[in-house]
């Protein structure tokens, strides 16, 4: 599938739109929110994360019945550890590609909006105001803040994953290649590596499978799933509602036309639904197993 954000896309004709998305009301316009590369990155991230979480939990809670049963099924922890390491490598590669892209765009091509400004992932003063304003709105003390391209909780998700990958990755590799790391790390750091790896891993698992799932997918505004990370496109009406500041900025900058795209095709919606619900189901199962094992411990 070609990445449709690369070039400006003309507004689709009504016929095309009706064919592509018969359920959508006529003349509804869609905006491209995520590029294909970003969607692939998320797909690699959540696929490897699910496997890393499942295999990691089995090793962390290796006394639990489900872990032992599964281990017996696959002939011991060798298989479990293999998949854990394999996914770690894939995720590390994705991380490196991502960082390389950030550096290429931000440092070498001096692209504005990577490190600062409304489209950046870097936190700014507006995020603090939005957080306070959002909390005031929760309590009925003020209006709902107008969010930009990335809302403060989305930035937190991003940086939590970023920090998590550095911390979990480094401690994981330290254990994997312990004799090598011991050349420049003290021996007790290897003890610390497991504590850090498992605690940070638990935090990531608990956070993603409860907070991220609810904030992004399961809350009434998105229920049962926000498809934008799969299809890459958001309807104009929703864009206005969810990211009024970005929408207003796009219109003001006269850039709104460049991001108009057609409605996502039916197959993509169905595919996204299957993949997304599977991921959410696996995640919630792991959450239940984690909590029950944690309480039983």
């Amino acid at each position: 599938m070609p990445d449709s954000t690369a070039a400006p896309v003309a507004a689709p004709t009504p016929e095309v739109e009706a064919q592509a998305s018969p359920a959508a009301p006529a003349k509804e316009r869609y905006f491209q929110r995520f590029t294909l590369a970003q969607r692939y990155l998320h797909a690699v991230l959540f696929t490897t994360f699910l496997v890393l979480a499942a295999t990691g939990l089995m090793m962390r809670f290796s006394g639990s019945i489900w872990a032992i049963r599964f281990a017996r099924l696959v002939d011991g922890f060798g298989t479990i550890l293999f998949f854990h390491k394999f996914c770690a490598l894939v995720l590390s590669l994705a991380f490196v590609i991502h960082v390389r892209e950030i550096l290429a765009r931000g440092v070498f091509r001096r692209e504005k909006g990577i490190f600062w400004g409304p489209t950046s992932m870097v936190a700014n003063w507006k995020d603090v105001k939005d957080l306070v304003g959002h909390m005031r709105w929760f309590l009925g003390l003020g209006p709902k803040p107008k969010f930009e391209r990335y809302a403060y909780w989305e930035k937190f998700d991003y940086w939590a994953v970023f920090w998590g990958m550095v911390v979990i990755g480094f401690s994981g590799y330290a254990m994997w290649f312990a004799p090598f790391f011991a050349r420049f790390l003290p021996g007790w750091a290897l003890n610390a590596a497991l504590v850090i790896h498992s605690e940070e891993g638990l935090l990531a698992i608990l956070f993603i499978f409860s907070i991220h799932f609810v904030n992004t997918h399961l809350r009434p505004d998105s229920f049962p799933m926000d498809m934008v990370i799969f299809t890459g496109r958001e309807s104009e009406e929703e864009y206005k509602h969810r990211r009024p500041d970005e929408y207003a900025r796009m219109v003001a900058e006269g850039r709104s036309a460049t991001r108009i795209t057609d409605a996502p095709p039916k197959w993509l919606i169905n595919f996204s639904r299957v993949v997304g619900f599977t991921a959410i189901l696996i995640g919630l199962t792991l959450l239940v197993l984690t909590l029950s094992a944690y309480i039983a411990e």
């Binding site: 089995m58 929760f138 009925g140 312990a178 007790w188 907070i211 809350r219 505004d221 299809t231 496109r233």
Partner: protein, 376 residues
């Protein structure tokens, strides 16, 4: 017909050679002449054992044969043993049909090494009997054990059978200090075959403690069990034995459980992680302060290096029993764990609250114009 002395077995066998012959009580009194003559008692005359029968017709109820009239040593051993009750454990209960007993080196003997487990198992494999005397059902355990396998499947005469450990006539309860299976005597009993292992064991802390009279120090059977002994290099043994060490060394077991070695080890499998004896040795266990110990500082690189190729002096500073919950013993680890726990709880607490408030607010937003899910 006038009575005449009966001594020659031919006289008796003229009647008793009918092997289906029964007495008034329905008890079989037939004798297979061929088997009798081939047996260890074949040179004897009937009257040598059946001493009260001199004439024909003989009494309806001849006296019980007294084996001890010849086998006095065995009889006196038996009298002090757990099998002293003669009516429950007559000699024939182990040695089989009195008229067909062969020498114990004969493969047909009920007490030939290969046949011993089956002979003992006639009673000790019976769950009813085990229940009655509060005995574990040892027969099944033994048959599946490495000894039972070596004897029964491999046909190794040197493999331990019941009598190798328990003796034969003088079997005493394990609570008796004289018993071969008394805790104090276990090591020497096993050493009957496993001589070399016992030499090592006696050098280690456990052997020395037992020798010094410490009743709680482990003997062979504490780790290997008595009847269900399995191959010590097998996955099953490796899986089951760490908690056995842990049943005494509770603090060490608890800290071991926190490590990667244990977390993966619990799942088992074809790749192995270090269990207690991989570092401490199984039989010649010595404290780290002993220069000959594998965990003595001078030997750590070598010991860890058995699994971790490239282990160096820094690597072996890793603490396989670190306690992240103990601030005094492992301060760095303690504060790292504390920090990680605080991070985890604070992030989750804040965002749980945030999400719950959000959900509540979303319910009371009135007539929401956008139910969501339009991205689809």
């Amino acid at each position: 017909m006038p009575a005449r002395p009966l001594y020659a077995d031919v006289d008796c066998l003229s009647c008793h050679s009918d092997t289906t012959m029964q007495d008034a009580n329905g008890k079989n009194v037939g004798v297979d002449a061929n088997k009798f003559h081939a047996g260890v008692h074949g040179v004897l005359k009937c009257g040598d054992c059946h001493k009260d029968i001199h004439d024909y017709p003989h009494p309806d109820h001849p006296a019980k044969v007294q084996c001890e009239s010849c086998h006095a040593g065995e009889a006196s051993d038996l009298a002090t043993s757990v099998h002293s009750n003669k009516s429950e454990h007559p000699c024939t209960s182990c040695h089989g049909n009195a008229h067909e007993i062969v020498t114990k080196t004969d493969p047909n003997s009920a007490v030939y090494p290969l046949n011993v487990p089956k002979t003992c198992g006639a009673c000790h494999g019976n769950p009813e009997m085990a229940k009655k005397y509060h005995l574990p059902n040892v027969y099944a355990l033994y048959i599946d054990s490495i000894h039972g396998f070596a004897l029964g499947k491999e046909g190794l005469l040197v493999a331990a059978n019941c009598t190798s450990c328990h003796g034969s006539h003088k079997i005493l309860p394990h609570t008796d200090p004289q018993s071969r299976t008394n805790r104090a005597n276990i090591a020497s009993t096993c050493a009957g075959c496993h001589y070399g292992i016992n030499e090592q064991y006696q050098q280690g802390v456990h052997g020395k403690a037992v020798a010094a009279g410490n009743k709680s120090a482990p003997v062979c059977t504490d780790c290997h069990t008595a009847h269900g002994i399995i191959e010590p290099t097998s996955a099953d043994f490796r899986m089951q034995s760490t908690p056995i060490c842990g049943s005494c060394h509770r603090d060490k077991f608890s800290t071991y459980r926190d490590t990667f070695h244990s977390q993966l080890g619990l799942l088992g499998g074809y790749v192995e992680t270090a269990r207690c004896w991989d570092c401490h040795q199984a039989h010649d266990v010595r404290p780290a302060s002993d220069a000959n110990s594998p965990i003595a500082p001078a030997h750590l690189v070598q010991t860890c290096g058995r699994c971790h190729a490239g282990a160096n002096a820094s690597f072996v500073q890793y603490q396989p029993h670190a306690n992240a919950r103990n601030r005094k013993l492992n301060p760095a680890l303690y504060y790292i764990r504390l920090f990680m726990n605080l991070l985890l709880t604070s992030v989750l607490t804040f965002f749980t609250l945030h999400t719950v408030l959000w959900l509540i607010r979303s319910r009371f937003k009135g007539n929401g114009k956008l139910p969501g899910g339009k991205n689809a």
